[in-house]
Amino acid sequence: MNTGDEMLVASTTYQEPLIRRVEVSASLAAEAATTVEREIKIATSHVSISYGEKVAVRDVSLQIQDRSIMALIGPSGSGKSTFLRCFNRMNDLIPGARVEGEVSLDGENVTDPDVSVVELRRRVGMVFQRPNPFPMSIYENVAYGPRRRGLNDRGKLEELVETSLKRAALWDEVKDDLRRKSGLALSGGQQQRLCIARVLATEPEVILMDEPASALDPVSTLRIEELMRELREAYTIVIVTHNMQQAARVSDVTAFFTMAEDRAGYLVEVGPTGQIFTRPNERLTEDYISGRFG
């Protein structure tokens, strides 16, 4: 009964803004393109990524502005996720993966072997496709990152856990059994917000999201999207999504990837989201967003 009521409330509150937000984001994007010149947070220059012989991503150069949301869209296998993972060097974990070109965070090349991946990943957090909270209490999930950084002060930890959960819009739902309830006992949508809170607790500057809502129901998806719009005030967000409405709703800038003849992913075009979805420069983009392929 209770869940039914919640669903009803949720659907009335969230559906309406959804339609408005498309327009808002389009106008925001247009504004970003014309007037607001923000600092460049991430820039890639001629980035190619390969696994052994197979080239997964070829020659991608783009720039991501500070405190904006960039969506990476494109068909499966176009290398979006692989590309996303070069920002926090998660590709390092895959044996045989090789990244060429330059990826810079605040002007500093992160592909440099001297760069500390531990420090990099604290500044560039990541939310995965499937919610993956640790099988620990909610509190311990959020405290995980700060603890590993050496923060053991109980008061500071508690404060950080609370602010992170509040920012991830989960606090009210979990505040009564933070320590008793396992992160795995939450619903899918709550788990994903917990994962976002867990990332926020490491106080990152950039948040990478790899199809963060693809395993969630529509209501949870909208909550995540709403959350992303709020987080945009303070963080740079890069999101990979298969859902084009989602890209249109949340992002300021959209980059469209597709596959070449040899199945290597490449960047077709990047531009303000409003423009990409209304008058793209490339025929391939237009075909994709109008559903003619992919």
Binding site: L93, P95, V118, R121, F134, G145, R148, T202
Partner: protein, 318 residues
């Protein structure tokens, strides 16, 4: 009913088969047979275990008492098994002290650091090969290496080292499997939060692998409790008369705490009595000892699971 269903389904598919219609012949028969065979096997194994326990419980009835457990052996009367029981516990502790940490560290290396290559597959092959070497051969090897070459004589330490040799490959292999069974997602989540590789292993992988690690510990412990052949030639088969637990001098072979003394375990004691015992109470002592041995294994298994559960809770909440 059938008529409406058909017309509703319509089209050119013809009449829909009734839901009560059973698929013909082979498949249903194989399904039934599988159910029966699998249930049968399960029940058979349970019955077997029950029969063994029941047999020794009945045989040991009237033999096992507090004094049987706590007294020294006696030539004339039933006596007790205190010294050999102590040796079993002692050997278990000594062996696990070496085999468990080394086995888990080896498992961590194999699962998290070594990767898949020719060297690691050679190691895995060696692990399996050593595990399947007959234990009497391991005992002989221990005799040559520890007792003779190292001039240790028959000692608990020599026995424990031989048992370690025998069990370490299994412990390593099971640890590796337990660690590998932890989903990659958990590692990625931890690393993406800026944890180092060791922090990830220590705080995520190991706690999640504990149930599997406990299985490894239990299987290894079972082999230590039950092993006689390895120990015959390494820790000796002399029946100890009496232990003075007040003697805490570890270097004194007379102290039951010392690893540098012969130590006949319960299993070896059973083997010895059964094969060459002459006393009037031989059969009762063997039955009673077997019942105690089974109970010890049972208690240890339950205890290990309990400790594992507590450990998981502690590690995931710190």
């Amino acid at each position: 009913m059938t008529a409406t269903a058909t017309s509703a389904g319509s089209g050119s598919r013809g009449p829909a088969p009734s839901l009560r219609h059973r698929p013909s012949g082979g498949s249903i028969l194989a399904d039934r047979a599988a159910t029966v065979v699998l249930w049968g096997t399960g029940v058979f194994v349970l019955l077997l275990l029950g029969a063994i326990i029941l047999h020794f419980a009945m045989a040991a009835w009237g033999v096992v008492s507090l004094s049987f457990v706590l007294d020294d052996p006696s030539d004339a009367a039933l006596g007790g098994i205190m010294p050999v029981l102590w040796n079993s516990v002692y050997m278990l502790a000594l062996t696990m002290l070496i085999a468990v940490p080394v086995g888990i560290l080896g498992g961590i290396y194999m699962s998290e650091y070594a990767g898949d290559n020719a060297v690691t597959s050679a190691i895995r092959f060696a692990e399996e090969a050593i595990s399947s070497v007959p234990s009497i051969v391991v005992g002989l090897f221990g005799l040559i290496l520890f007792v003779d070459n190292f001039h240790m004589g028959f000692t608990a330490l020599g026995g424990a080292l031989a048992l370690t040799l025998f069990n370490l490959p299994l412990m390593t292999r099971l640890s590796e499997q337990a660690l590998r069974a932890v989903p990659q997602d958990e590692r990625s989540a931890s690393l993406a939060l800026g944890a180092t590789k060791w922090q990830t292993i220590r705080h995520v992988v190991l706690p999640l692998a504990i149930p599997g690690l406990v299985t490894g510990v239990i299987l290894t412990a079972g082999r230590v409790f039950g092993e006689a052949a390895v120990l015959l030639f390494t820790s000796g088969i002399g029946t100890p008369a009496h232990y003075d637990f007040a003697n805490l001098d570890l270097t004194n072979p007379a102290s039951p705490w010392s690893p540098f003394r012969p130590a006949t375990t319960l299993s070896v004691y059973i083997w010895k009595l059964q094969s060459e015992g002459l006393g009037a109470f031989k059969n009762q002592i063997v039955d009673g000892s077997a019942a105690i041995l089974i109970s010890m294994v049972l208690v240890f298994n339950l205890g290990a699971r309990l400790v594992g559960r507590l450990l998981t809770r502690k590690l995931t909440a710190a």
